[in-house]
């Protein structure tokens, strides 16, 4: 029982320090960025034609003249009170923007995460089960080629091929252009989701397949598989009875650790497909000097990635008997 309390307290401490670290880092990066937030906000032409008084007024309105440390502390204090601030770019509450963008991104990322996880796992298991076989060669070839391609480039190629040339899917956005939001059906939304999801998964698959394959090879060369063979188990029985059981733990860890990659990939993919999600909002915020929005997104993302790793850790303890039962007196 004590152990659990300590674990929870430790996890909270880690999460808090991570959030502080991420927010300071993001804040510093935006602060030292050469982009002037006021200029970015009102636009270059408007800014140049403004009187110096007006410029000064705007600068003081957005707090440009306040020292950075003070600005950060102010933001942190408000954040703790649940106020994430107003977005410079969208002129709306950051929390509201994040909620809306997050919903869009979430569906995309969740689908891509599941798809790449399941596909990558199956491919890795099949490839590793018979090392050097035809499936192994295909999976390896696919994974190495895919892993060496930049995500945004694949996104562009898919866009050109499937959206522009073949016209199977819309070329971007999350709803049909010019349609009243009230008329958008779930079918429309799904149709817009398919291409970004496939792009994101296709890249994620490679990584997971290669890692799973590696683990699978280790298992197939282990002493207990050798012994299972000696006991007359067929290859299929060995895979079903021993390999899958043993590969599940590393696979789950990998799957939850890959959340960060899906987040990273979604920034690029959303940009290419003009998909109005969190990733795109992050890019907009970063380029527009929108400190409040960027900090909000960074912190929320960090919490999610941290949560993923935490879940992996907890699951590890639940699934692996060596950890679960080894605590009380085992070896």
């Amino acid at each position: 029982m004590n152990r659990t309390v300590v674990f929870i307290l430790k996890s909270i401490a880690k999460a808090v320090s991570l959030m502080i670290g991420v927010s300071i880092l993001a804040f510093t990066l935006v602060t030292v960025s050469p982009l002037d937030p006021v200029r970015m906000n009102v636009g270059n032409t408007a800014y140049n034609s403004m009187s110096p008084e007006k410029k000064a007024e705007l600068a003081s309105y957005w707090g440009v003249d306040t020292p950075p440390v003070e600005r950060y502390l102010h933001w942190a204090k408000e954040f703790l009170h649940g106020n994430m601030g107003i977005s410079l770019k969208y002129n709306r509450a950051v929390s509201e923007i994040i909620r809306q963008k997050f919903l869009n991104s979430m569906v995309l990322m969740l689908l891509a995460w599941l798809l790449s996880g399941v596909l990558g796992f199956c491919m890795g298991v099949l490839a590793g089960a018979r090392r050097g076989g035809l499936i192994d060669k295909l999976v390896q070839g696919y994974s190495i080629v895919l892993a060496s391609m930049p995500t945004f480039w694949i996104a562009l190629v898919f866009l050109m091929l499937f959206a522009v040339k073949l016209q199977w899917f819309p070329f971007g956005m999350s709803v049909p252009i010019g349609m009243d939001p009230a008329d958008v059906t779930i079918f429309d939304s799904l149709r817009h989701l398919i291409l970004p999801t496939i792009t994101l998964s296709v890249v994620g698959v490679a990584n997971i397949a290669l890692h799973t394959r590696e683990k699978m090879i280790d298992i197939m060369e282990s002493d207990y598989v050798l012994y299972a063979r000696a006991r007359g188990d067929s290859e299929w029985e060995i895979i079903r009875r021993h390999a899958l059981r043993n590969i599940l733990i590393p696979a789950i860890t990998l799957q939850f650790a890959s959340i960060s990659e899906i987040f990273g990939g979604s920034v690029l993919v959303e940009q290419v497909f003009s998909y109005p999600g969190l990733g795109q909002a992050a890019v907009t915020a970063g380029l527009g000097g929108d400190v409040a929005l960027l900090l909000g997104i960074s912190v929320i993302t960090a919490v999610f990635v941290f949560g993923g790793n935490l879940i992996a850790n907890i699951l590890y303890g639940v699934i692996d008997p060596r950890i679960r039962r080894g605590q009380n007196g085992g070896k």
């Binding site: 207990y224 050798l226 000696a230 188990d233 059981r245 043993n246 085992g330």
Partner: protein
């Protein structure tokens, strides 16, 4: 002895591995050459050799567990039938059972009970497993343990139970005792004896010559991947009854026989001496030792040495 049937008969077994030496040059690395082992009904035959002599590979060859780059030449017979790769697939785990070295050969994530039953939920399998556990003094709760929760002695008994889930004719025990203290090791040996006495065969692969002498009927001495001597366990009562200089050296190295070692090391497969592999360490070496050394039948045993005399040495 004469009426007993042979369960396992291995003659002139050679195993080599294809390896890349330097760059793309392939070499054939011989790890076992002209090995001979025979196990009869009711017999425990110990294959004794130091580590690196190729003992475990023998077990792997019989069970068809060698990696793909291994070349196997020679003749293996099991219960009077030629042991072909297809036949191996039929008998392994059923008529030939392996008792592995340690608990590491059990799936770490599978409970012991189901693992011994090989995942089977059939009532007769469960009954058999339970009765075997009872026979080996394993409590009911043992079934529900994971391999890492077993003590060394329990692990050995679990592995022994697993080997007897089928009615096997031959048990291959690959170093079954390291890590066990003497009482446990002796108990393990008694279990093997009991199994052999039911008319089965046990091939005991070990580096522990004292243990082998304790339990085995015949001893096959292994040196640098080949059989140098086949002796009855009674031959070990006196140095004079032994046939090969290496066996004699082993005998002399036993604490009760003087505890004297000899110079040198077993040669590595890549720089094997010409002729007799033991030649460089042998005090009786002659020029003829660099030629072909056949396995000869001498005084009810066999020896791969041209110098051994037919009659009892004075």
């Amino acid at each position: 002895m004469e009426t007993k049937k042979t369960i396992l008969d291995i003659s002139d077994l050679s195993i080599s591995f294809v390896q890349y030496d330097r760059g793309l040059q392939q070499i054939d690395l011989p790890v076992i050459t002209n090995l001979n082992v025979k196990v009869g009904e009711g017999e425990i035959v110990a294959v004794v050799g130091s580590s690196g002599s190729g003992k475990s590979l023998l077990a792997h060859a019989i069970l068809g567990l060698l990696p793909e780059n291994a070349n196997v030449v020679g003749r293996m017979e099991f219960a009077g039938e030629l042991l072909t790769p297809a036949r191996i697939l039929q008998v392994r785990g059923k008529e030939i059972a392996l008792v592995p070295q340690s608990v590491n050969y059990l799936d770490p994530l599978m409970k012991v009970g189901p693992q011994v039953r090989n995942g089977s939920k059939k009532p007769e399998k469960i009954r058999r497993q339970k009765s075997l556990f009872q026979k080996y003094d394993l409590s009911r709760e043992t079934e529900e343990l994971f391999p890492f929760e077993l003590s060394g002695g329990m692990a050995r008994r679990v592995l022994l139970s697993a080997a007897q889930m089928h009615k096997s004719r031959l048990l291959i025990a690959d170093e079954p005792t390291p890590g066990l203290h003497l009482a446990m090791a002796k108990r393990a040996m008694r279990d093997f004896r009991a199994f052999a006495d039911e008319g089965n065969g046990v091939l005991l692969i070990t580096h522990d010559i004292e243990l082998a002498l304790e339990v085995a009927d015949r001893i096959t001495v292994f040196y640098a991947g080949t059989t140098v001597e086949e002796a009855l366990v009674t031959d070990f009562s006196s140095e004079k009854l032994l046939r090969h200089p290496y066996t004699k050296a082993l005998w002399n190295a036993l604490p009760q026989n003087g505890f004297r070692g000899i110079e040198g090391l077993q040669p590595y497969v890549k720089d094997m001496p010409k002729g007799c592999p033991f030649g460089p360490r042998c005090s009786n070496r002659t020029d003829a030792c660099e030629g072909e050394i056949p396995l000869r039948q001498v005084r009810g045993g066999a020896v791969r040495c041209i110098l051994t005399e037919e009659k009892k040495e004075a």
